[in-house]
């Protein structure tokens, strides 16, 4: 297993009023994303525990693109990953943000 941490500045606060959401399941090729609204409006953190070791650079790229695209300010993402592909990771992160944008 490998632990990764990413800290980004986000363009704006993630919309919606929900405090927490969870998406996905930990299984081969899949991941779970727990998202909590607990940071300053322009901050975003992504913490990852992954079964696929040695892909730090790839995660870095995926997370950076995700933050740029979705501006999830104020959100902390905690990920348990079972070796999912990058596009599955992007999808789950986006699904998590979408849930948070709903009225809580």
């Amino acid at each position: 297993m490998e632990d990764l941490h990413f800290h980004h500045t986000a363009r704006e606060r993630a919309g919606g009023s929900r405090k927490m959401a969870i998406v996905g399941v930990v299984a081969s090729g899949n991941l779970e994303v727990l998202v909590e609204r607990m940071l300053a409006d322009d901050e975003c953190q992504v913490e990852i525990k992954t079964a696929a070791v040695g892909f730090g650079e790839l995660w870095n790229a995926v997370v950076a693109d995700f933050v740029e695209r979705y501006a999830p300010g104020g959100l902390k993402f905690s990920v348990n990953d079972g070796g999912a592909r990058p596009d599955t990771v992007s999808l789950r992160l986006a699904q998590a943000v979408r849930l948070m944008q709903e009225a809580g």
Binding site: R85, S90, L91
Partner: protein, 548 residues
Amino acid sequence: MTDWQRHRKAFDALIEAGSKLAKGKFVEVHDATRLMETVIRPGDRVCLEGDNQKQADTLCGALLAIDTGKVNNLHMVQSGVVLAEHLDLFDRGVATKLDYAYSGPQSARIAQMLFGGKIELGAVHTYLELFARYFIDLTPHVALIAAVSADRDGNLYTGPNTEDTPTVVEATAFKNGIVIAQVNEIVDKLPRVDIPTDRVHFIVKAEKPFFVEPLFTRDPAAITEGQILTAMLAIKGIYAPYGVRRLNHGIGFSTAAIELLLPTFGEKLGLKGKIASHFALNPHPALIPAIESGWVEQIHSFGSEVGMDDYIRARSDIYFTGSDGSLRSNRAFCQVAGLYACDMFIGSTLQIDLQGNSSTVTTSRIAGFGGAPNMGADARGRRHPSAPWLQAGRESDPTASARLRRGRKLVVQIGETFGDKNVPLFVERLDALELAEKLNLDLAPVMIYGDDVTHIVTEEGIANLLQCRDANEREQAIRGVAGYTEVGRGRDKNMVQRLRERGVIRRPEDLGIDPLDADRSMLAAHSIKDLVRWSGGLYAPPSKFRNW
């Protein structure tokens, strides 16, 4: 004086010798090996069926037991190297040389045997090409074929899995070759005559039905969100704008997703009647919902598919069936249909390089080509126009004079940027090149060449290679849909942006598709059981697909 009837005389002598073991044309199964020792000569070219689906496994077993003192060094010419016994023939020294088209199930062992020098390789072909050579320079001396039944006159019924048999028999029987058939049973009256008796020389009733496996069944339960997204992109970004009515789907989960999205996503887009109406396609169970929803006018098939017989019978307006009601398939004609009468091929592969060349060869597995190179190639001999064909031609050469500018077949490679075990689809250099060096081949085994590919579809978007003006644009267009693979991350961001502005690359958003909407609820069927329901209970899935 030259004797111009030598082959005919040799044939007559072999038939006479073999007939001593037969009652008329019928030989007992325990005499099959002796029959072969009598009528096959060392060094003969033998076509053993060896089709994509059905296998003449009893005759293969009889050949394997042959006395190699009497018969050896055979040159096998067959479509498919499918059974372990096909390769055992080489291990035993019964056969030494091989020309074939497809080796999917034996891809690892055949690679080992080729590297180890146990097989002298003629060439790997695409099906239609191999059939073509049966008539020019690879004509079989002996054909070992599989049929469902024979009547007492020796006519054969090959049934839904007719596949390659008529082609193999045509080449062999009309060039002084010997045709030996294994049948499941001998009957008084055949449902229909697929092979007339005067092309059949010996018939063996096997102790069990010939081997046939379901290869074209894809469980809807296994289709992922990524595959659904690529399918949505293909339908909205290619099928719709080009108006593709006549097509072939290579087998795979992305194409299965397309088939299952026609009645839902396709319906919402108002595309029924405008796309996907005429298919060169095996009887894919995944197409049942689209057929039942009125999308499909007709289908011609290369072979059949286990479990589909009753459904096909009940849908004779759609499928090609004989007077008996069962499917009549024909690989050679379906390949021809795919070559000339279809406007699009769409399928998956294992590796794509920066020119768009694709291959399913890796350094330890040689799967061969099957039918893809034929289906997935522009047909330069084609002359009749159609809207998609002309449109593609326009895009590839906008400045040419219209009446001298021929069209192009749409050849689409579809897949997710990372495949099984997270192996990247896109590579700088195909493994096939390394293989060619190792085996000293003239050509690297490329399935589909980059200059035939017109579009690449991944979850990141669609790259239209027709509109690329040079090799550099082509490379960046490919990198621009290669996602987070190394190839994708090596893109020139500015150039990719410009290509997107020109529409050469289109992202899901550009087509009004939100990746978050690509979920399994869009599939017309979620499970094999759903397909059974759609078929009104006519589809009878084989055991391995049941969860009831």
